[in-house]
C-alpha cells in the first residue's frame, strides 16, 4: 500500500491524466496507463532516482474478457529496495500498436516477439519483430480467444451434463 501511494504520487505529478487506474491486487501495486504514454512512463520509472525500476521481470500480453481489446503487462522490479509493480496498457484489437521497450531493456526483445507471436501486438520500433515460438507461416495469433483450443463444433463431446 505504501509503495502504491508512493509510485502513484510520483506518476500523478508527471503524468497527470494518463494514469487510468491504480490499485493493489494481492501483493502487487497495479497501474493502468494510457497506451500512448506507456513508453514515457516506463522510461520515467526506470530513470527516477528514488524508484529506479531497473529490472524488467516480465512482459506478456493478454486479451480482455469482452475480446475487443488487447493488453500488454509489464512487471517491473527494483532489486535493492525490493519494489515490485505491475503496469498495464490496453488498446483496440483492430489497431494493436504500442511502443517497444527494447530501447530500455534489451530483455524485452524476445518477450515482445513472443507477445506478437501469440497476440499480434505490433511493437513500434522493435528491431526484429517476427514470430519466435510458432512457425513463420502461421497466419493466426493463437492465444486470442477467437481461436478455441478444440474444435467447438464437435458433437461427440458434449459437456452440458457437467454444467459447463
Amino acid at each position: 500500500m505504501e509503495l502504491l501511494n508512493k509510485v502513484n504520487e510520483k506518476l500523478k505529478e508527471h503524468f497527470h491524466g494518463d494514469i487510468e487506474s491504480a490499485e493493489l491486487l494481492y501483493d502487487y501495486p497495479v497501474f493502468t496507463i494510457q497506451k500512448d504514454r506507456i513508453h514515457d512512463v516506463l522510461k520515467f520509472l526506470k530513470d527516477d532516482e528514488e524508484l529506479n525500476f531497473h529490472f524488467l521481470t516480465d512482459l506478456c500480453g493478454m486479451q480482455t474478457a469482452d475480446e475487443k481489446q488487447l493488453g500488454v503487462i509489464y512487471h517491473l522490479h527494483n532489486m535493492p529496495k525490493n519494489y515490485r509493480i505491475r503496469l498495464k496498457t490496453f488498446f483496440d484489437i483492430n489497431k494493436p500498436e504500442v511502443a517497444t521497450a527494447t530501447d530500455l531493456w534489451p530483455a524485452a526483445n524476445w518477450m515482445e516477439r513472443e507477445t506478437y507471436d501469440f497476440f499480434g501486438v505490433r511493437f513500434k520500433g522493435h528491431p526484429n519483430l517476427k514470430r519466435i515460438l510458432n512457425v513463420d507461416e502461421m497466419d493466426i495469433f493463437p492465444l486470442r480467444k477467437e481461436y478455441p483450443l478444440e474444435d467447438q463444433s464437435r458433437t461427440d463431446k458434449k459437456d452440458e451434463m457437467f454444467g459447463r
Binding site: 491486487l25 512487471h75 532489486m79 534489451p106 501469440f118
Partner: protein, 404 residues
C-alpha cells in the same frame, strides 16, 4: 556455403576482404544438450555472429492451460524445466494458494522446502557435470550422476514418478511421507557430501578445467541485469539476488543459508555458484528436518483437496467434493496474482488471471531460460566455437523451459 563480404573505408578503398563460413549448430546435436539451433557466421574457428532459432518443442502450454482445471495444470508445469519439476509444481501450487488466500500449515511448507532443495541439487548436478563433460572431463559426470538417481528414487517413493513428478497437491501433500522415503533422504544426506566433495576435488581446482572455463563466455553485471538474468547466472555476475531471500515463500525465512555470488560472470563462476548452492541446499534440508513442526500435511481446502477414501465411500458431502474435484468443477475466485519461486535457473514466475471460472482466464509463465537465452548471441560473439558450447551448457538452458 560461404559468401564474400567486403568492407570499404570512406574513400572506397578495399581495406579488408574476409570470407565467412556459415555453420549450422543444431537443432539436434549432442553438444547442445537439447533442441537449439544457432546459425553461426564463422571466421575460422571464431564466431562472428550467431542467429538462434527457438521453438522446436513448443507445446502451447499457455493455451492448453486456458482449457484445463487448476489441478490439471500441474503436469504442464512439470514439463517446463524438467530437470527440477518439483520446484515448478510447488511454484504453481503457491500461485493458486495465493489466489485462494489459503493458509498452508508449517509442516507442509517444510516438506515442500525439502522437496524443492532436493530438486535444486538434482538440477545443479546435471548442469555442473555437463560442464565437465563439455570440457572433456567425463569422469566427474559418471560419478556424480548416481546421486541424481538417488534423488529420483526419493521422488519415486514420495509420489510414484521420477522425472515429471506432479508431486503434492494444491494445499499441501496428499499423505505423510513413508518411512522408506525418510530413510532414503537420511542416507542421501549422509552420503552425498562425500560424492559432491569427490566431484569438487576433480574439477574445482583442476588446472585444465580452470584454464578452460575462466574467462569463457563472461557477462558483466550491468548487461546481465539489462537482459533480465536471474538465478545462478546473475549471481555469478556478482548480483546477490535470490527470490528465497528477497521474497521468502514457503517458510524460507526460517532457514539460515548464504547466497553464493561470483565476480566475473564467466563459465567458471557459474559452475562455482552452482557448486556452493548445492552445499547450501544440503544445509537447508538438514535444518528443515531438524526443525520439522508437527501438524497437518495440507491446508483446510475441501474444494481443492481430495477427501480421504473412507469418507468418500460413507459420506455424501465427501463424495460430492470428490466428484467435483476429479471433474474439475470447482470455481476459483476472481483475481490476478503473480508469484515467483527460485527455480533451478532463477526466478520462475506464474502470472495468473482468473475470471472466476474453472480454468484460468490467462496464465503466463515467466520462464527464466527464455529470457536470458537471448543474450547468448552477444555472449559468444568473438569467441571460439568450443567455448560457445561450454557457455551454453553453463547457462543451463533447458529446451522445455525455453519453448514452453
Amino acid at each position: 556455403m560461404s559468401k564474400k563480404e567486403t568492407t570499404y573505408s570512406v574513400n572506397q578503398e578495399v581495406i579488408e576482404e574476409k570470407e565467412y563460413s556459415t555453420l549450422n549448430l543444431g537443432p539436434t546435436h549432442p553438444a547442445t544438450h537439447g533442441i537449439f539451433q544457432n546459425v553461426l557466421k564463422m571466421d575460422g574457428e571464431i564466431i562472428h555472429e550467431a542467429t538462434p532459432t527457438i521453438g522446436y518443442i513448443h507445446r502451447a502450454f499457455e493455451k492448453l492451460a486456458e482449457r484445463r482445471p487448476y489441478a490439471q495444470i500441474t503436469p504442464i508445469t512439470d514439463r517446463l524445466n524438467y530437470c527440477s519439476s518439483p520446484i515448478n509444481n510447488m511454484g504453481w501450487y503457491m500461485t493458486v494458494e495465493k489466489l485462494l488466500g489459503a493458509k498452508i500449515p508449517k509442516r507442509a511448507e517444510y516438506h515442500r522446502v525439502i522437496i524443492m532443495e532436493l530438486s535444486r541439487i538434482a538440477d545443479h548436478i546435471i548442469c555442473n557435470s555437463v560442464i565437465g563433460v563439455d570440457t572433456g572431463a567425463m569422469t566427474g559426470f559418471l560419478y556424480i550422476f548416481q546421486w541424481r538417481e538417488k534423488i529420483y528414487e526419493i521422488f519415486e517413493e514420495i509420489c510414484g514418478a521420477r522425472l515429471t513428478t506432479n508431486i503434492g497437491r494444491i494445499g499441501g501433500f496428499d499423505q505423510e511421507w513413508s518411512k522408506k522415503a525418510w530413510d532414503l533422504i537420511d542416507t542421501f544426506l549422509k552420503e552425498y557430501p562425500k560424492g559432491l566433495q569427490e566431484f569438487a576435488n576433480l574439477l574445482e581446482r583442476n588446472k585444465i578445467f580452470m584454464d578452460r572455463t575462466i574467462n569463457c563466455g563472461p557477462i558483466s553485471a550491468e548487461m546481465a541485469l539489462s537482459y533480465s538474468f536471474v538465478g545462478p547466472n546473475l549471481r555469478a555476475a556478482g548480483v546477490d539476488y535470490d527470490v528465497r531471500v528477497m521474497n521468502p515463500y514457503s517458510s524460507y525465512e526460517d532457514f539460515t543459508f548464504t547466497v553464493p555470488v561470483g565476480t566475473q560472470g564467466d563459465t567458471y563462476d557459474r559452475f562455482m555458484v552452482r557448486q556452493h548452492e548445492m552445499w547450501q541446499s544440503l544445509s537447508i534440508i538438514e535444518q528443515a528436518i531438524k526443525k520439522m513442526p508437527e501438524g497437518a500435511m495440507h491446508a483446510d481446502l475441501p474444494d481443492f483437496f481430495l477427501p480421504p477414501k473412507e469418507q468418500v465411500y460413507n459420506n455424501m458431502e465427501a463424495l460430492i467434493y470428490h466428484f467435483k474435484i476429479v471433474m474439475g468443477e470447482t470455481d476459483i475466485p476472481k483475481g490476478e496474482v503473480y508469484h515467483c519461486v527460485e527455480g533451478g535457473n532463477g526466478e520462475l514466475g506464474f502470472y495468473l488471471i482468473s475470471d472466476g471460472g474453472r480454468t484460468p482466464f490467462r496464465l503466463h509463465f515467466r520462464r527464466p531460460c527464455f529470457i536470458y537465452y537471448q543474450a547468448y548471441p552477444e555472449m559468444i560473439k568473438g569467441i571460439m566455437l568450443s567455448d560457445a558450447i561450454l557457455t551454453m551448457s553453463s547457462m543451463n538452458v533447458i529446451a522445455g523451459e525455453l519453448d514452453a
